[in-house]
């Protein structure tokens, strides 16, 4: 039995019953990482000793007759934008090389409390700014399905770890699609919850009005289990909602019959790969055969989501990244003549090109003379994008569409042209701007074998419908692991 091929819920069940020891899972996990990670580059740092100690303490807890948590012995890889006490956290940036946080992110603490194993930190685009994991200061991550291709981004390492079954689950963060797009590219399940569902405390901030932590898993039920563990109020995040997590794992069994699924014409327009379209439409037909009612809907402001997002996200980033100044933590370039020189030299050395590009753009759109034309205007268009969804949800219970316009692209394909990289986020940005829950679930692969993701967007706080539909899509397309 390959423990890491087991779904999250099955593995936890076996550990809870004592049929498998957590230490066996930990050993299998590192053995798998050791034979795959050199080729994939999913992990930036591994916590072998801590994980082994953690596994032993879980096994001892069981031996004492204590009940184990919902993720007992389940390895969950952590995106390196989540701070971990006593484990190096870099956010994929040279700026934070060697940084050891003094505390755990709330989601990390919740995973520990649920008896999950935390084997390591995963590769990502620098400060989550990218769609391919190629802007990582520590080298790109590769797609386990085809090592010449990108795993997507920015949470590419977490997606690749799950796709190659180094871990059955992982956490990522999604600002404009950074969980969903890599999930689509790697054939894993990826969930961005409603904004405010999951605490951002300890998530290194990119764009605070958009950032949301969420799970990757090898199956829909596994993602639901992880989300139930990490969601819920946290007084240390002022945007955390005072709402208890749902029973999303149960919702996976609800079936999709009777649900009205909205199909937005704007998501099936120019630029959509023919195979991706065929695959997504096949799943829509399958849902219809399962008893769903297909409703055409329109989201007319979709095409403005890219411009809106790249104004708002970069504006927020330019403010959030001001904290990296060479004084309190991270890199510092000396000698410096004065304070301004220290800031400038440190930031020019510590940040990579994409991060500088976004800080400059964000500073530009907020600067005197441009604020109204760009930043304020984008905030108004954000309202229109959210209204599009509200109107569509009067006619349907969830929206079903492609997650990304193409399957995984080749490494290096878009790095020379930042705007073409931004355009690849076209289908994931609108739900982010509207704060809605959205997931990517694998549908039929392309002829090449590359995975294709179907995106489900549901009403605010209605993750229940999203999981019910996700599980229904999955019933026609059993989870596949990348052979490596």
């Amino acid at each position: 039995m390959n423990l890491l091929e087991l779904p999250v819920t099955t593995l936890a069940h076996l550990v809870q019953r004592g049929e498998v020891k957590a230490i066996e899972v930990a050993e299998a996990c590192f053995a798998r990482i050791d034979v795959t990670n050199d080729r994939v580059g999913a992990f930036l740092a591994l916590s072998r000793e801590e994980t082994s100690l953690q596994a032993k303490s879980i096994d001892e807890k069981r031996a004492r007759g204590e009940a184990l948590g919902a993720l007992a012995g389940v390895p969950v890889a952590l995106k390196d934008s989540l701070v971990t006490r006593a484990t190096v956290t870099t956010a994929g940036s040279k700026m934070l090389a060697g940084y050891v946080p003094p505390y755990d992110a709330t989601v990390v603490a919740r995973l520990r409390a649920a008896d999950a194993l935390l084997p390591g930190k995963t590769n990502m685009d620098e400060f989550a700014m990218g769609s391919s994991t190629e802007t990582s200061a520590f080298g790109p991550c590769r797609n386990p399905w085809d090592l010449s291709r990108a795993p997507g981004g920015s949470s590419g390492g977490s997606a690749a770890a799950v796709a190659a079954r180094m871990t059955p689950a992982a956490l990522g963060s999604d600002t404009g699609g950074s969980i969903r797009q890599p999930a689509a590219f790697t054939g894993s399940v990826g969930v961005k919850p409603t904004y405010g569902r999951v605490s951002r405390f300890g998530l290194i901030a990119f764009a605070s009005s958009l950032d949301q932590v969420g799970p990757f898993a090898s199956d829909v039920r596994g993602a639901a289990r992880v989300l139930e563990v990490i969601a819920g109020r946290d007084g240390r995040d002022a945007t955390s909602l005072d709402i208890a997590p749902g029973r999303w794992e149960r919702d996976c069994d609800r079936g999709a019959s009777g649900l009205r699924i909205g199909v937005p014409e704007e998501y099936f327009a120019e630029g959509l790969d023919a195979e991706v379209e065929a695959s997504v439409r096949q799943s829509i037909d399958q849902l219809q055969a399962d008893g769903c009612v297909v409703v055409p809907v329109t989201l007319p402001h979709t095409r403005h989501a890219i411009a809106t997002y790249y104004v708002l996200a970069t504006a927020e980033a330019s403010s959030n990244l001001a904290r990296f100044d060479g004084v309190r933590f991270g890199a510092r370039v000396e000698p410096s003549r004065d304070l301004r020189d220290l800031y400038g030299a440190t930031r020019d050395h510590g940040f990579g090109a994409e991060v500088k590009r976004r800080i400059l753009l964000g500073t530009f759109v907020l600067s005197a003379g441009h604020y109204e034309a760009y930043y304020l205007k984008a905030q108004k268009v954000r309202t229109l994008i959210a209204r599009d969804f509200a109107e569509a949800f009067e006619r349907c219970d969830a929206i079903v569409c492609p997650t990304a316009p193409t399957p995984a692209f080749l490494l290096g394909d878009k790095t020379g042209d930042p705007l073409s990289m931004y355009l690849s986020d076209v289908y994931t940005l609108p739900a982010s701007l509207a704060g809605l829950p959205a997931m990517s679930v694998p549908c039929a692969p392309a002829k090449s074998g590359l995975p294709v993701g179907l995106q489900i967007v549901s009403r605010p706080l209605d993750e229940a419908t999203m999981f019910a539909l996700g599980a229904a899509v999955e019933r026609h397309h059993a989870p596949r692991a990348a052979a490596l």
Binding site: D348, A353, L360, F364, S367, T383
Partner: protein, 96 residues
């Protein structure tokens, strides 16, 4: 609004980034293309539309009003690249 060399230099100063000449050149080109794209927003009719700075889906959580231990002095300084006199070290910034 065209992005020229001078604009990039000005914005870099605002953002505390000391760009090399080569970087300034590349950023002028890249930002020009991106600003060219985001300029499409100007054509959208937003008359009477309120701005959204933040989406809120419900009541947010309040922290319990109880004292809890924070970081110790040592923990707070532990990751500083340079410390002096029990604090963060910075170059002098007050003119004598």
């Amino acid at each position: 609004m065209p992005i020229d060399h001078k604009t990039v230099q000005h914005v870099a100063t605002l953002a505390s980034l000391s760009l090399t000449d080569e970087e300034t050149l590349a950023m002028t080109r890249d930002l020009g293309a991106i600003v060219g794209h985001i300029a499409e927003l100007a054509a959208i009719d937003t008359t009477g539309v309120p701005p959204t700075s933040h989406v809120s889906m419900g009541r947010t959580a309040w922290r319990d009003d109880v004292v809890k231990p924070g970081l110790t002095h040592e923990e707070a300084l532990a990751q500083a690249p340079r410390t002096t006199l029990g604090g963060f070290a910075v170059p002098g910034f007050v003119e004598s």
